[in-house]
Symmetry: C2
């Protein structure tokens, strides 16, 4: 086997390539709703458990506090998310979806469905299930061992 052919054997390389393609296409789809992929991801994370402090969100999304801070700022400006003061601790606050934000969820989710179908529809049901299972397993692992440096 030549060195050149070994080079194609990195799972991370293909993962990055496919993930970029999926996200790019999704970005195009949601841009009509005036929302970015990261914003959708943020809103969705919020939708599951709410209200949530930024720090928790950062860990769940695998992003830094700084990124979350800016993302939250944008979403508040768009009126999709709101902050609630924390009485006990004046440093902290919590984030929740506004009514408008909440209303957008199903729309965005259906775009996500469509995007998923377009990309992963070529897989057999079995393959798709396996892929899903593996990705979640890996995501869990990440959460366990590698909190972002920040």
């Amino acid at each position: 086997m030549t060195a050149a052919s070994e080079l194609t054997d990195h799972t991370g390389y293909w993962m990055r390539m496919v993930s970029n393609a999926v996200s790019q296409e999704f970005a195009r789809k949601v841009s009509g709703e005036d929302v970015t992929v990261a914003e959708w991801s943020f809103m969705r994370a919020l939708y599951e458990v709410e209200p949530t402090p930024p720090s928790v969100l950062a860990e769940r999304m695998g992003m830094t506090k700084g990124a979350i801070s800016k993302l939250a700022e944008r979403l508040v400006a768009k009126g999709l998310v709101e902050r609630t003061e924390n009485q006990r601790d004046k440093r902290a606050h919590s984030l929740s979806l506004t009514k408008e934000g909440r209303a957008k969820i199903p729309v965005l989710a259906s775009l996500a469905d469509k995007n998923d179908a377009e990309f992963f529809g070529v897989l057999t049901k079995e393959e798709h299930k396996t892929l899903d299972r593996i990705l979640r397993l890996l995501a869990e692992r990440r959460e366990l061992k590698s909190t972002p440096v920040d």
Copy 2:
């Protein structure tokens, strides 16, 4: 089933999360070699077929011409890549690895091996193989139907 639980069912969502984690960790690893993930990806693409015009590279990597242009610029500045004029067409040129660039490949590849092992080592051999196969399949599909907008 509630709407909330359906929300976790997007493959793209998990893919993005895992891919980011993998790339981030890899970025940390290669930063010692004064190279970024995109730069590695670029060099690797070049390594396979060389010399190559930027436009072809852009398509292969799923990036825009603009991104490739800047990436190439950085790599030329670092002395890892070089341009060759095209005699037939004065607009065009080709890119190849320099001796130094070529020499870095095995080092970077071994870091990539290590990163892959860390992340995907938790999978069974069977799972890992399946994941690989699926990702390549999806990457191929992308190339067939979705050249970047640009």
